[in-house]
Each structure stands twice: as C-alpha cells, then as structure tokens.
Symmetry: C2
Subunit: 339 residues, 2 copies
C-alpha cells in the first residue's frame, strides 16, 4: 500500500515477477478490495473456490486494513497501526511465513519495523540500510549504512563492512569486493573519532579474514566507482545518499532548462536525447529493485517511493537471489555469531 | 605558490584585482624569482629603486623559499616548512601586516594554519571552513563547517550558525538569512545525538536573538536552495561538499560521453552547447572566489586548487568586502565574546 503508485504498480510488478520466475510465490499485503480490483484489471487468474488466491496458489492476498502514510512518525506508527501493510507484512517474515518483505512505503517505518518486528540475526548489533548506488563507469557501489542507525559504533561499522562484502559477492557476483571507509581524506591518520577507531578493525579484517579493505574513500570518489562497498555510519550515509540524489536532480534540472531555452537548443536537445537517455540510464537505480536492509532474520527491501512495476519486479528478483545464495547464512557464519 | 596554476594565474589575478579596486594592496608571498618573472610577463610596473615593489607600492613580493605540496601531511608541514608561502603569508595576517590571506594551495595545510597560525577570535571555539555552494535556482547557500573540524560539539555548531548568518547578511547582502541544520529528516525528534543537542540551541537563538532558524534540512534539498546557511559538523560537511562535487562531475561525464557517441548526438551537442553553458554556469563556484574560514583573527580564503586568474581576483574582492563590512567585528559582537 506504500509509495506513490500503490497498489496499481505494485500489483503489476508482482504479476511480472510471477511470470518471469516459476519458483517464487507472492503474498500481497494490503486492502483486499483494492488489491482484488487491480488483479482483475490485470486479468490475473483467480483460483476456484479460494477468494484471496490467484495464479494457481502462487499469489495470495493478505488483508491489512491500515496504511502508514509518509508523514506518520515511524516509531509511533509501527506501534499503533498494527494492521498496516508494513506491520502485517513484516510479521509474515518474522513468523517465517515469508522469506522477504518488499515495500515502496515510508522509509522511516520500514527501517524501524525491520529492526523491531523482523529483528536482527543473533549477534548482529545493527541492521544497516544498504542502497546500491550507480557509478559513472557503468558499475555500482554499495553504501551502508545509509540511514537506518545514527550514532553507530566502530563494532557496528565492522559488521557493516562484512555484510556489505558478502552481499556484493553473493548477490551481485563481484568477486573479492573492494571495501572502503568513507573519510575526509586518504591518509590513515585522517578522520573523526569513529573512523579512527574503525580503521584498525577493518585492517585487522583484511589481515585475518582476507577482506579486500582498500582504506579510506573520499565522498568525491563514490560515484566514480573506486570501491564496491562504502562503509559509514547512518547519519553520514544519509547525507551521502541524499546529496547524490539532490545534486543529480539539480544538474538535470539545469540541463532541462537549457534544452528548452530557445529554438536552437530545442533542436539540439531533440538530436541529443536518445544518446543522453542511454548514458544517463547508468544513473538509474531502478534496475536493482531497491535497497536491502542487511543483518535481519529474513530480508527487507525498500524500493523507491515512485517505483513502477519494473522496479517492483526487480526487487522480487533480488529477494530470490538473496534467498538462493543463502546470504543470511553467510552473514551469520562470517560474522562468527552462529546461524 | 599553491594550486595547479601557481604562480602564473595567481599573479594575473592579483594584477586584475589591483586594476579593478583602487583601494587594495597585495603582498605576493612565494619564491621571489618566479613571481618577478610572472610580473614581468604581465608587464607590471616595477617601482624605481625598490626591488620587490610594483604598481606604485600597491603590490609587493614577500619572499618565501619553501612550498607545501598537496601530498604533504598538513600538521607536520605547517610545523616544519616555516618558510613556505602558506606559513609566511598567514604570519603576515597574525602580525596585522595583512588583513586577509588567499591561497589555492593544500586545503589541509590552510585549515590547520588558519587555526594555529592566524588564530581564532577570542571566544570562538572553532573556526569553520565555509564554502559558498551554488544552488539550482541561481542562488547560493553557505555550508559550514565543510571540514576544518571533525567531532565538533553543539556549542561549536551554534557559533557556526551565528557566523554563517553574519557572513551571508554582510558579505553577500542576504537580509535575514535562513539558517538550517543538516539532518536525516525534518521532524524535530530526528537526528543523531549532536543534532538533537544543537537543535534547541538554535531554536533559542531564534527566540532570543531573532536568528532566522528554519529547522532541519535534508541533504537532498541543499542544492535546491531551501536555506541560505546549512550548519553541520566538519565530517558531515566534507561529505556533503565532496558528494556534490563528485556527483556533478559524474553526471557531466556521462553527458559528455553521450555528446560524442554518434554523429546525431554530436550535432545535437553543438546546437545545445551555448544554452547548456549558460545554464551550468549557475553551478560554477569560481565567481565567489573561494571559501572563507570564519572566526579567525583576520580572514583566510581557500580558492579551488585549479583556480584561474578570475577566481583569484574574485577572492581578493571577497577579502575587501569582508574587511569593509567589518564582519569580524560583527562576529565578535554577536557571539558575545567581545572584539
């Protein structure tokens, strides 16, 4: 029920995913009547005799009567709106009735719900929000934590680094991913107290466990793809993520302004557009289907609020990979805390 | 002697400034022989009988035999290279032989030197680095601290807010500037420990001193110009500044790639270029002539490492305004610590 395009695009995305992958099953959590209407619009095949079951039992509606709105205070709404799609959906994961939960809804509520409803893997101290950022060389980099926890400690950042490396290696197939810590400079003595405390822990992980720790990375280099995993605490990560979004949107806004400023530029824009679209597609995060929260008993994926069917479908594909590649088992094993 | 284009562009910029403003005097600090050659190249008028004096006494060379390189460790180089242009120049400010110091050299050395050589105004706890960032509505916003201090406390951030407001009002003429604190969300309960501690101090400044504190700003909105002054501690500010630079350069890189990808896009680019240049000029920070460090006994301005003559000239204009508008007197008065 969350996001700008719910439930229409969510329903469409799920049907796409079911068609694409024979092995997944979808539980659609939300207002049953609305969801049913969307399924009918998309000619989804209703199962005989079963009201909330479609596609030969592969898609089921789980009714949830409340909706957490973007403006709702995260902690309060998770507590009070017990029958919201976010709370009901996350409980399905907690109770092992689902392996993963995908939502385009309130970021704050999803991050809070992930920690308090789904819960962390035993021994994991904090569950980071880990968006996959596009880089200008056609690659990606994982930023964590991008805002699930503020005021994190060095032991948390160490686990973020481990989980990030596991995710990039097993979910995205990047062998021996380069892990860096976000810092104000490259020299080892640079940094705030947290970074100075974390740096030796990551060096130790390199020496003892073979983590490919490459040292510090300045924010200037994040979009240039110098590292596969960028580690930081949540306040910093939120700044980095949102500064990237804001700056990109400002540059594009000025570019669009230029494109319609006179006849000459309009013609130029028309000729340039196809190539520009291809080039800027590299900056489009929707192909990854949203950002995972790592370290939870299950998987929680936050898609963009404006996600369309395609991004939702990709998010479900991400869940499938996460499950098949047994990423949580690796996390439990590598962080040495038992499954 | 610092930056990519020293001393040629520095010398040119100073001569431009001397021509533009009859009231300023310039002390050119660096290797005398090299500077003299550049002055000759630009046909600067040497004063009779005085070896290091030009332009009727308005430009003088102050010899400094050493250079702090970009790679040098900031603290160590400020200590050991006593005859570098940065150390010698800053001492001129400390000894009141100069009102301001401008450099395109090592950021680290300038930030350290500002604090330890020039020194802070009595009562000012930290001196922030305060770049003026362009916004996509043709305006600007002041970001402070952008990296002079990490691990700052709430009392420091309060002074950053005060100094930022004074600077924007008196140096840039923005009446009653909107001051915001960088945060992970807009609600008052959002934030890390530092922001939660600082927020009430800024609210108090609003109630008691009429500061135009507008609350929190998310990083996403910085380049959209929602605030005139964005307050944060130095680690965060460094991330914001460099993420802006990195993202903008990545988007432009992809755009350039698109422009040369085929004949059609090349023609389109040719037609679009003039309008694009005008539009993107809004993002060019050189017109402000670098970023000041605030709260020092004098003024220290850091220009871009790749600054050309024009930016150097603008930096000198900024120094003139800073001096004429008595900004340091306002800072001493408003922060209640005596001049």
């Amino acid at each position: 029920m969350g996001g700008d395009n719910a439930p229409a695009e969510i329903v469409k995305g799920c049907l796409q995913a079911l068609k694409k992958e024979a092995e997944i099953q979808v539980l659609l959590v939300g207002k049953e009547e609305l969801i049913r209407k969307e399924l009918e619009k998309n000619s989804a095949q209703k199962d005989a005799g079963e009201d909330a079951s479609y596609c030969g039992g592969r898609l089921k509606i789980v009714n949830a009567t409340e909706v957490i709105e973007t403006g709702d205070a995260p902690v309060a709404s998770i507590r009070s709106k017990k029958d919201s799609s976010i709370v009901v959906g996350m409980k399905l994961v907690r109770n092992k009735e689902a392996d993963a939960f995908v939502s385009a809804g309130s970021s704050g509520a999803i991050l809070v719900g992930g920690q308090v409803i789904v819960g962390r893997i035993k021994g994991i101290e904090r569950a980071p929000f880990a968006p996959i950022l596009p880089t200008d060389n056609g690659g990606v980099t994982l930023l964590l934590d991008a805002g699930a926890n503020v005021d994190a400690r060095s032991s948390h950042l160490k686990q973020f680094a481990q989980m990030g490396a596991i995710y990039m290696e097993h979910a995205l197939g990047i062998k021996n991913p380069k892990v860096a810590i976000l810092n104000v400079g490259l020299e080892e003595e640079k940094g705030n107290a947290l970074v100075k405390e974390t740096y030796p822990l990551l060096k130790q992980m390199k020496e003892e466990k073979g983590m490919n720790f490459i040292g510090s990375i300045e924010a200037r280099e994040v979009t240039h793809g110098y590292a596969d995993v960028c580690v930081c605490e949540g306040f910093t990560g939120n700044m980095v993520l949102k500064m990237m979004e804001g700056t990109a949107s400002s540059v594009l806004k000025l570019m669009k302004k230029a494109m319609v400023s006179n006849l000459r530029s309009k013609i130029g824009a028309l000729l340039l557009k196809p190539a520009l679209k291809t080039a800027l597609a590299d900056l489009d995060g929707s192909k990854f289907g949203g950002a995972p929260m790592l370290g939870l008993n299950g998987l929680v994926v936050k898609t963009h609020g404006n996600a369309k069917a395609n991004e939702i479908c990709n998010a479900l594909m991400q869940c499938k990979t996460f499950h098949e590649e047994k990423i949580n088992e690796f996390i439990a094993k590598e962080t040495g805390v038992g499954a």
